[in-house]
Symmetry: C2
Subunit: 667 residues, 2 copies
Amino acid sequence: MKAKAKDSEGRKRVIVEAVSPEIDGGRFPTKRTVGDQVSVEADIFADGHDAISASLLAHREGSDQWTEIPMRPLVNDRWTGTFRVAELGRYGFKVQGWIDHFETWRRDLLKRIKAEADTAIDYLMGADLIAQAAERATGADADWLRHRATVLRSKQQPRELRTHATDPTLQELVRRYPDKRFATFSDREIIVMVDPLRARFSSWYEFFPRSTSPEAGRHGTFTDSIARLPYIAEMGFNVVYLPPVHPIGQTFRKGRNNSPSAEAGDPGSPWAIGSEEGGHKGVHPQLGTIDDFRRFVKEAKDLNLSVALDIAFQASPDHPYVRKHESWFRKRPDGSIQYAENPPKKYQDIYPFEFESQDWAAMWEELKSVFLYWIDQGVTIFRVDNPHTKAFPFWEWVIAEIRRDHPEVLFLAEAFTRPKVMYRLAKLGFSQSYTYFPWRNAKSEITSYLTELTQPPIRDFFRPNHWPNTPDILTEFLQIGGRAVFSIRLLLAATLGANYGIYGPAFELLEHRALRQGSEEYLDSEKYEIRGWDIEQPTSLRHLIARVNTVRNENEALQNDWSLKFHLVDNDQIIGYSKESDDHSNLMVMVVNLDPHHTQSGYLTLPLDILEIPPDRAYEAEDLLTGARYLWHGSRNYVELNPTALSGHILKIHRRMKVESDFEYFL
Amino acid sequence: MKAKAKDSEGRKRVIVEAVSPEIDGGRFPTKRTVGDQVSVEADIFADGHDAISASLLAHREGSDQWTEIPMRPLVNDRWTGTFRVAELGRYGFKVQGWIDHFETWRRDLLKRIKAEADTAIDYLMGADLIAQAAERATGADADWLRHRATVLRSKQQPRELRTHATDPTLQELVRRYPDKRFATFSDREIIVMVDPLRARFSSWYEFFPRSTSPEAGRHGTFTDSIARLPYIAEMGFNVVYLPPVHPIGQTFRKGRNNSPSAEAGDPGSPWAIGSEEGGHKGVHPQLGTIDDFRRFVKEAKDLNLSVALDIAFQASPDHPYVRKHESWFRKRPDGSIQYAENPPKKYQDIYPFEFESQDWAAMWEELKSVFLYWIDQGVTIFRVDNPHTKAFPFWEWVIAEIRRDHPEVLFLAEAFTRPKVMYRLAKLGFSQSYTYFPWRNAKSEITSYLTELTQPPIRDFFRPNHWPNTPDILTEFLQIGGRAVFSIRLLLAATLGANYGIYGPAFELLEHRALRQGSEEYLDSEKYEIRGWDIEQPTSLRHLIARVNTVRNENEALQNDWSLKFHLVDNDQIIGYSKESDDHSNLMVMVVNLDPHHTQSGYLTLPLDILEIPPDRAYEAEDLLTGARYLWHGSRNYVELNPTALSGHILKIHRRMKVESDFEYFL
């Protein structure tokens, strides 16, 4: 190969590499929320000793209008720059570096002046560089620069030439017209997906509308569910999430406690979607009408609750798709349709979609239209059931399609599956994901898992949503039962994660009875029957939940995941960690006794320097759950938690306590 | 966007990601040496629960002949496969994954058989899959498969059908004709650059031909240098490396000890390249002729020594390029050419090339021709002087150009500069690189630096070549002086790195006098004058060096970098580490006392399980430097090293010592 190609290529001396944030070399967008500052870094360097300059270029994806932000060097050839993503949707950024000959000249001139070396020729060289800048400049700037070049070429005294050459105005003006002929760009534009705030901070409450009737045994309706909304809003939640609301199939309908055959009157599982009454765009008649649903959405909105709907892409044998789109399901040699199985177990009430169907493109379009239908009904959040059993390319396509026109819409992936599958779905576009939190109970488990989730690269694409329970998951820890057990899991979920949720009223009513030992299924699960819940029960956790959510709503520190730091406690049963707001003004320290049975105590060690707590003065830790105020001093302080009272502290740190000199009378 | 595009796209359900080895997402080749097994890994998974299969596809870059190697799963969705790179040059590989419907069917069938479930329809489904495989098969295989499909569709007894369906021959045959219609490939072909063995294992000896004359004061010649070769070969080196051999400029020639003006008779610096007698393709007349040089190369080769030549791309003011190619240098406003500077220091004897020259393409071609010229003279290794002061795109281009036709040629980068620059040059194609080893003396420094260098991703592109000294670097540690100091650095360089070198005879003759305190320059440096060395001096380290090189040559464990492991010694002055051969048969343990002044002792802890040493029996540690044999037992053994005797052990581990039952008389 001859050396030439594009004429400038060989002269691009600057290297730009290791750009961050970046997911898989730019293959996937990185995620942020509206108003975030995106802090970009890159390794930028050149051969030799010339000075270099760099900028960050950002725009709305596809737009010609780029904003250029100067980058500044950190250490070890790493540079940084920041831009703000003010609106929903997709932004893009690139990094650009170039040799700065004027700055090299200026730096070397200052060295020579300091060493009292001969500088006569330097002024001539500078004049050339300034004249070149004048060529790039326009208007008055060009004239100014041209004149300065002439001055530097004149026979003035060295002292005067020096003043003209080192003038900061000159530096400023030349910088405005950099020589970017041989500038290098980063390899690939990185996309930033900007989500609504709710993607970063959300408190979810899941319930079954069928169980909201005030009359025992009657099927609950959307109207009953509307009556339940104030109860949920009073607890401080901001997302209310419903299992599928579509017509439920009759064929192979499951009975109570997942029995293979339903008795007369058994309502069936809401996940067996579709009957003669409709499919994914229908409403189960026993819940009411689509107008009732819309009313539910509106009433929720009035209480500042977003409605999240469960979308489960599967069909009961009675689903209209089964007749109309046979090719979307897998045919068996006997002409029957393949039901879901995990051999030898059979789920004959469920037909999975066949993503290898020849007719896949039409199926994709139809499934997309399901989301659009519910968006039209006012739904802005979709909790997607088992996304890991549908083809990955479908999710990447459908989420991008929906969000192009509806960037406010969020998708929560219910992918309780292997970590790489879970992460891939997040990369493909899911806004939030369920996590392994339900099964992380020991201090070491919580620390290592949450550290993984809150550090790059994971945190740039995966937003955890922690659930202590779900209709499918009553963990062995919760099965111990009792107020302390549920409080511990609530406090952890709500303060470790900015996004969390509970499945109620089972959670606040401390429901802990499992189908059988070794199972995580609830006994008498609402998945298969109507439950009556006494939400006014005095043992309910509702007031603690309300307090915790109020603290979350009032303290920005608890509205982000990235600031999480774990701190040393010299007792393995006590976990301590902190979070703070982006501007560091709001600092919260959490201490939780993981042992539901015994009082535990120990010393918590806080890194005062990192948390910006003055090392030499007392500071206050105010427990926002109880109102207790602790006077702390130094990095090591005593904590003690009795689970019969309350298993955790949520402490607001007042970094600086007033002393005598803060008061006027002192003066 | 409508869902369709390429008809198969939407049905590609398998994900292939996180392929390794991979440098910057495949932007740069990964490096191996001839005969290596390349162990490839990737995350491969699909939605749902279908079985998947994967293969590794490898070929000579550009060839249509791909070798397909089945991959096997490790844990956590990670798969692995291995291919061998038998020849010099460039290979490429990809990873491919697909849903294996036959294997899914077979696995589920076996589960149903085990659960004694109904399997009637399974045989029909299997028959369909087998018939499809028959369509993809040819000849007898196709007939066999078609027949088997017919059998499975027949009304045979379940027991017979089961035998036909689960037959391993069937599995084997179907596997031969996989259904890859919807297979997924890894994003990008990864290139593997296959270098000669010398890239991985080399022992370098640098000397100045000018100082090889047996007559004091006379300028040494290539003929004198030929006489020096047996001395070097006896020390066990395999690369002999010469500073630039080109004509030396007169203008601004440096005098002794880098004085700014030469006295009459001062020979000047070999790095001030070019005079009326020629440039980079010329030979300094005082060294002899090009024929003498060729004779030198031939004689070296007969002693199994490769010749490495220093290529320094810069020109003295007298270089023919300066007249012929003014545009390759930077012009100053007064018409003079810009010399090298580091303000306020001036290097007026050196003109750097201008890589932003408009005529860069012609300059690149000329510089390339310099390498080709010396390859024609028999040189196969180039030590490149200060590559970090020349444009990066040039190196990527020129190394690829040279190695396309001469894949046996190696390039050593002398880039004593910032880490990211050093690493970038390695990525661009340099086969080996100098390192920060000269300045790593403490145990913690050595451990962390060598660990970084010998782990992915660095090791996949950066091959360290460790030098205790160079003509420019007499470290403060060496300036302490004395046999122990030099022995320590020799033992470390030669056993930590498979590639190492010394600058002699300064090194073996323990030259430790610096130009002045705080400087790393040698006093009376050969860079500026002719030195007479008494190589027969009795204090010379030559015999220790010879022993160390013999041990290196005889023990494969010391011929690789990747197996390096550091081991615990409960004394910070003693460092312990091991290396082993690829097949684990050759295990070496090194123990070095880093304190040149005092005897140090401690306990070395070896991880017996990892090193495959039986935990319950004695084993032997044989010191290959002294012949001493130590009987060790268990993981913790005592070591003691007296620097007045020898500062280190190079221990060959005999994992299994004979016991009574190994002998015939025992029976």
